[in-house]
Symmetry: C2
Subunit: 335 residues, 2 copies
């Protein structure tokens, strides 16, 4: 691979729009070319292509797999489609950046990761939080002992969310898969990506049995503890606090895409560029850091991201499945 | 009873000092008279009496029980002494305001409450948070549906605490009894003092088996959840967040004695008076609200506080005992 990296975009939905928008207004724009967008309808694909000045508008994601001008595909489809989308693209030899969660459960996640490893192509779960410069700064400071030993970390992620893909079971909705994964990734970051020793959780479910709210405690070795609360029904604080033996780090709203953090009383900010095309989600301009990270990985011939390696994606999938079992939330994909 | 209410002070320690200091500088000063202080040594009692201009300095708390000039005794002794102190005073017919926790466990708490009921004297657990005007405002707003239905509440209480009475098991130390009780009272307030349906907790213990940190989730009916994290080893945020279907309330540091809160984006503050004599704990001037509440209860012939009724003290003791069992923390008093 060499710059500019040539992207295909699978799905013309809200998050795909933000992803392309973020690249377009970023300082990295010249390193990236969005070659094609594919949707399930021609009209939707063409509208998206027109908005962002993309040359090709396809119906069906297979067209992206077949296009020799595409290096890497961003999969922005709904959760239940990730497995099939990824396998199809990987088997066609495409590199993939797949929206979180990569799979509906551990089994699906493993299938994607193993397929990529077998085909020797790059695949990464689109955990953009891990590519955010402020989170990288936190990670570095924690490693350097700036706040001593991290003993406790608490995270919340909740909002009123009505979209079917978020609350409907058959579309892969649920607070854990949709927003909880961010909280878990932040806790894992705080505790150096150790595997938790113990997980306890409780929550409440909608009438169709999908988790609407979850609170959980992850216990790591030496009595370190991470707690999170989620809701798809009500707004929570949407911050993260990391407490060490020698100081605290606060990650401001939204903790999954921070533009301001506080380390031991010192404020740090990043300025995210503004866009003429409206972003759908908070601080989505930060998606450009993720796109640029993928480009860097590909240019260096990596088959995994070092910021979101396969092992961590799998650990997080295992944590989510463990918690879902405690809540009694089961998807058709679990059978 | 009629004003001024005549107080006896059991123990000349840090919290007793703050309690008397708070009354002295409060607008309620004229309604209260601190008649006597008792300590285990004459020198300590006399020094305390001199500092605050108290007439009588006793050795031994029995002297307070025998003094006909005393209406009510503030018990500021260490946790393991509360049971004996309270029973002795109650049996002498004295009203009692006893520092939290009233007992080391449910059994002791019941003993105190039942003794007071049998003797028909006033006894109250000194949960001053419940007497704080800002918490009363929160309680009222929640009742009036200002933030809709409260669905989630999260609280932290942690600091580096080295005192033996806080970390030593044989002195009744432990994060739950020492600081956790505040977090639980705040959660109970947020959820209208319902009894939790489910409690899950984990934590870590010192080498002698006392809890140094605890994280717990209390689940109330209709999927409402309260979470708290405690530590006697490291500083936590020491805030409380209450999340409703129609807005949030944030209780600022220190959440157990707030001087500022935020209700749906609106800041509310109280100005606590300053003192020439240094307070030992944060915002201790707010202890005066508790003293004044006790006076009001006594003047009205009440045998329980309506802000901290016996039933709630017992429920909180039951929650703490439940959590301690999950952690495997046992005191000699549990046998």
């Amino acid at each position: 691979f060499k710059a500019p990296i040539r992207w295909g975009i699978a799905s013309a939905g809200l998050i795909s729009s933000d992803f392309v928008n973020a690249i377009d207004i970023s300082p990295y724009k010249a390193d990236h070319e969005v070659v094609a967008v594919a949707a399930r309808s021609q009209a939707k694909a063409e509208e998206f292509a027109k908005t962002f000045g993309i040359k090709k508008a396809y119906v069906g994601y297979e067209r992206l797999a077949e296009d020799p001008d595409i290096d890497v595909v961003y999969v922005g489809t709904i959760n239940i489609a990730h497995l099939d989308n990824c396998l199809m693209l990987i088997n066609a030899g495409k590199s993939v950046l797949c929206e979180k969660p990569m799979g509906m459960n551990v089994k699906e996640t493993k299938q994607v990761l193993e397929a990529a490893q077998a085909k020797n192509v790059f695949v990464m779960e689109a955990m953009w939080t891990r590519c955010n410069p402020l989170q990288l700064k936190i990670q570095e400071d924690i490693k350097n002992g700036v706040i001593g030993d991290v003993m406790q970390a608490n995270v919340t992620f909740g909002g009123k969310m009505a979209a079917d893909r978020i609350v409907k079971k058959d579309l892969g909705g649920g607070s854990l898969l949709v927003v909880g994964i961010y909280a878990i990734y932040v806790l894992q970051m705080a505790f150096g990506d150790e595997v938790p020793e113990k997980i306890i959780a409780t929550g409440n479910k909608s009438s169709e049995g999908v988790d609407h709210s979850v609170s959980a405690i992850l216990q790591y070795k030496n009595g370190k503890m991470g707690c999170f609360s989620l809701s798809t029904q009500i707004a929570l604080a949407n911050e993260a606090h990391i407490f060490g033996t020698d100081g605290q780090i606060k990650v401001g709203i939204p903790m999954w895409a921070p533009s301001h953090i506080n380390i031991k009383g010192k404020e740090l900010k990043i300025n995210l560029p503004e866009s003429k095309i409206k972003f759908n989600f908070l601080n989505s301009a930060a998606l450009a850091f993720e796109a640029e990270h993928v480009r860097e990985c590909l240019c260096n011939g990596l088959k995994q991201s070092y910021l979101v390696p396969h092992s961590i994606t799998l650990t997080v999938a295992e944590i989510m499945e463990n918690i879902r079992k405690q809540l009694g939330v089961e998807y058709p994909q679990d059978k």
